[in-house]
């Protein structure tokens, strides 16, 4: 019996060794990341778009895992927006939708509501996923304009600035 087990284990080891050397390696995932320079460019454009309408905002950009890539606080931006913009960016990156669309989605009766289980998620409009095709590579959040629709418009203006390089 013991010999049988020992035999099986060594057989497994040989199998694992062969597998590692096989022409088709263990599958790995390849993905794209937003570089700091593009993040700065998008955030500056978002701040400028809102400033042009007289609104002082904060912008946060997070990567695909939801961790911080950039925070920019515009002149005269309020205190709440610093944190709220981060949570909007996080929500869009994690849920892969705009925060406005998430609000609509969970308003549907019987729909799954992730905000019950992750308290970092917000449904205030102003968060937009950063996408390459259908793939979400991060999120941008804007806060400080008088109204979530205006926040979202500035976030989109920021993304529009770099859209030609998001491929």
């Amino acid at each position: 019996m013991i010999r049988f087990f020992a035999g099986s284990i060594s057989a497994l080891c040989v199998f694992a060794g062969l597998n590692a050397q096989a022409a088709d390696p263990l599958p790995t995932e390849t993905f794209k990341l937003l570089p700091a320079t593009l993040a700065v460019e998008a955030a500056q454009a978002a701040i400028a778009a809102c400033k042009g309408q007289g609104y002082n905002i904060s912008v946060t950009i997070v990567d695909r895992t939801g961790s911080l890539k950039l925070i920019l606080v515009g002149d005269g931006a309020g205190v709440l927006g610093r944190e709220l913009s981060r949570r909007k960016a996080y929500t869009s990156a994690m849920q892969r939708v705009t925060t406005g669309d998430l609000a609509k989605r969970i308003a549907t009766p019987g729909a799954f509501n992730p905000t019950l289980y992750d308290t970092q998620l917000v449904t205030a409009q102003g968060g937009v996923p950063i996408k390459i095709g259908n793939e979400t590579i991060g999120g941008i959040g804007v806060s400080g304009a008088p109204g979530g629709d205006k926040d979202e418009a500035c976030a989109n203006a920021g993304l529009a600035k770099i859209s030609d390089r998001l491929s």
């Binding site: 990341l33 570089p35 700091a36 993040a39 700065v40 500056q44 701040i47 990567d63 961790s67 911080l68 890539k69 950039l70 925070i71 920019l72 606080v73 515009g74 002149d75 205190v79 610093r82």
Partner: protein
């Protein structure tokens, strides 16, 4: 029934006294409104990108944070390939430089002989690691910059960023 049982005459006297006191209080310059200059967003961003680029040119992936007068983050940038801890480390360096009004390098130097300082690092957000520099206008500290991720060049990179706005910090 009065809560302030004073005769009319005494009330008049105290009124005069209060007026005199008010004049004395109003006189000193420190009772005037305080005028302060703050970092602008454009200036904070120039410092941050300047510092990040300086380290990038040396081949180091770093993160940089600029805090304002109140110690709040106004710019935070996580450089490409920079370590996970670098953002938080940079933020604490910036905060430490701001609140103690000295570079974190100087802060570390005084540590060995200063038991108070050894306790200060138990306060939230304080870190005794080289790489934080206060942003000053004359003697007034208006913010702080912190950078993390390079092998001993953090402060050098921060200073490269600060050099880009030095002419406006007069």
């Amino acid at each position: 029934m009065s809560y302030f049982p004073v005769s009319g005459r005494r009330a008049c006297l105290s009124l005069a006294g209060a007026a005199a006191l008010w004049v004395t209080l109003a006189a000193p310059a420190d009772a005037q409104l305080i005028e302060r200059r703050d970092l602008s967003y454009a200036m904070a961003l120039t410092i941050a990108t300047g510092a990040l680029d300086a380290c990038k040119a040396m081949g180091y992936a770093t993160s940089v944070v600029v805090v304002d007068r109140g110690g709040e983050t106004v710019v935070a940038l996580h450089g490409d390939n920079a370590g996970l801890h670098t953002m938080e480390n940079a933020r604490r360096k910036a905060y430490t430089a701001r609140t103690f009004r000295m570079t974190t390098e100087d802060y570390v130097k005084g540590m060995k002989d200063n038991p108070v300082r050894q306790q200060q690092i138990t306060l939230p957000n304080i870190v005794a690691i080289n790489g934080g520099v206060p942003i000053k206008v004359g003697n007034d500290t208006i913010g702080g910059v912190g950078l993390s991720g390079s092998p001993g060049k953090d402060e050098e990179c921060v200073n490269a960023g600060l050099a880009k706005v030095q002419q406006f910090l007069q």
